[in-house]
Symmetry: C2
Subunit: 359 residues, 2 copies
């Protein structure tokens, strides 16, 4: 049989106080003498009182629940963002209700319905195509929404995003500084703000027409696309790939053609995934999006919105992490280009705790 819950009434009875007094005592509200408050709290602890958020939520119509809609299973990317959110909102006693947005519109609509039933007070969402499709249902929840990584106008302008354009520019500058003049672009479909501005920044910074091939987010396809790019433009000595996956494909194609990395072919990726950082022979130069920070800022932003503050758009920078795919890093790399990033700046580079990985 389930052990009986200790209620505020129980405490009140024990102490000869009113229910109201106990409620105020525990919540720090109302006007109580210091002594009473102490007595109440002590007794609550003694009796092992835990508040009942269902009751509290019903009475106050505030669930202290935030909905998180992300494709968290595809990579550790969104897991990190979620961890950032969690850390930020836990202090305010909010908890996260999860919804994976991999899957069709119906699955997502199901999540949204559940969010409604549970009275979530705010949403943090990555606006992928599915989300865009059901944006109306999301808006119907009538709660603050914060978007991360990808802004979709319809969902408002409370957004935490990465300065993709500047990253694109920086990629161009980095390659130019290394002396490359024939530079190509291996790009994914520009059907998102992030990918589009990433490419735009790159092209604008270079200022001339750039050979470009489109590829899927898939190493095999990127490989083929890169082959196409290099055979159509054998003069290229550098390529900016808009993801690490594409970059790997480009490296692969380059190696097959006998190019030496990075002199005869320099490659920049995007994301600083493990496959970039831990690529054995050719660690990838790439951009490290501050994932956890994005989550933290998003959480903070959402809490602000809940407190009535106006919505704002926050733009974070993605530092360039320079590795062997663009630059031979000798031992004196520390006194090298100003681009070179101190490891400490990149949250990604962290020691894993063996007890935390199901290796």
């Amino acid at each position: 049989m389930p052990k009986p819950r200790v209620t505020m009434q129980n405490i009140a009875d024990k102490l000869g106080l009113s229910l109201k007094a106990v409620s105020d005592g525990i919540n720090g509200t109302g006007h109580l003498s210091q002594l009473t408050r102490e007595r109440i709290r002590t007794m609550a602890r003694e009796m092992g009182y835990r508040r009942n958020s269902a009751a509290r939520s019903l009475a106050s119509s505030s669930s202290q629940l935030l909905g998180v809609l992300m494709p968290y299973a595809d990579s550790s990317f969104f897991g990190s963002i979620i961890a950032g959110i969690e850390r930020q909102v836990l202090n305010s006693d909010f908890m996260l209700l999860l919804g994976n947005i991999r899957g069709g519109n119906d699955v997502l609509q199901d999540h949204i319905r559940r969010f409604a039933e549970r009275n979530v007070e705010g949403i943090i969402v990555y606006s992928n195509q599915t989300v865009k499709d059901v944006a109306d249902d999301l808006l119907a929840l009538d709660v603050p929404i914060v978007q991360v990584m990808e802004p979709y106008r319809k969902l408002g302008d409370a957004v935490v995003m990465i300065n993709n354009e500047e990253a694109g520019r920086q990629a161009a500058r980095h390659l130019r500084k290394l002396g490359h003049t024939r530079i190509g672009l291996l790009a994914h479909k520009r059907n998102t703000w992030a990918l589009d501005s990433r490419c735009r920044g790159f092209q604008e910074e270079l200022g001339y027409e750039i050979p470009e091939v489109e590829c899927l987010l898939d190493i095999a396809d990127s490989h083929l696309a890169a082959q196409k790019l290099f055979s159509a433009h054998p003069e290229l000595t550098a390529v900016f790939a808009t993801s690490d996956y594409a970059a790997i494909g480009a490296l692969q194609a380059g190696l097959e053609m006998g190019r030496r990395i990075p002199d005869e072919l320099a490659v920049i990726g995007f994301d600083n995934l493990d496959i970039a950082a831990h690529q054995l022979l050719y660690p990838l130069t790439t951009f490290a999006q501050p994932k956890e920070k994005v989550g933290e800022v998003a959480g903070e932003l959402l809490l602000d919105l809940l407190h009535g503050k106006p919505s704002v758009t926050k733009v974070l920078e993605a530092p360039l992490v320079i590795r062997a795919s663009t630059q031979n890093l000798t031992k004196k790399c520390s006194e090298n280009s100003s681009d070179f990033l101190n490891k400490n700046q990149v949250e990604d580079i962290q020691q894993l705790d063996s007890s935390n990985i199901a290796i």
Copy 2:
């Protein structure tokens, strides 16, 4: 102003029925005529009724909430497990409350307290060291617990785990079949059941004393450890590393010594992480733990427990994925060893949807 919620009472009034009738009509409980039930449901839909789970939870003392405690930010590993759980329990109208178990005992205890306040009805947990430390608090919740990947006796025997011992054995058999007779072990600390049985299976299958060096879950340290191993035992031609990270370190050390892969040095890893699958020159032979499946089974198991069924331990197999780090896969690889895994068997190998990754 918050738009007024449609309540069951509203519906009852509109229909001239009692609250009870509406409740029964919507929940499919009680005895109602087919007609009334239809009328109620139709009206509910028309008025845009959504149930209020706070009220429902308070009245029925069932929260329909499951707590998930995992280090989901470190890699995509646990994200996949969580996605599996979600898919399994969503049909039963449960939702997942998340708790990251990276961090100290106090953070975890905080999660547990919140779980208590929110009346979670069950827990799925990865028993890392922190969890083991606060196992008592977890048990105090007095709800069913399902463990994934790592069993900790104190938390009961409802567990979904991987047959690590068999995987270890299979690693040994695979290397032996390839003709290797001098085999080493590059192992992480055996402070978990998973790691210990993985090593044990490997050793037992080989049946003789195996040169072994311990390393951290970190490529740099694994690299050093592997150097140590190979210089102490230059006769080794193969090594089983108990994680892909360690395997990368081993490859690195081997390459530095001028070994040709896989003839002069074969390496097996564990986990089928991206860094294994997408290692450019030397894709890693490794074990693919069925992560999402683990989640699904765990979810199913927990639901069973909630329905009063007895707890059981489920053991899943981790198929070996053979790649170039142990075997030269020519075009006729498909007619190769029976070990060779059909890609379709490995859930891991999936096409990523570009709109789902913040590349």
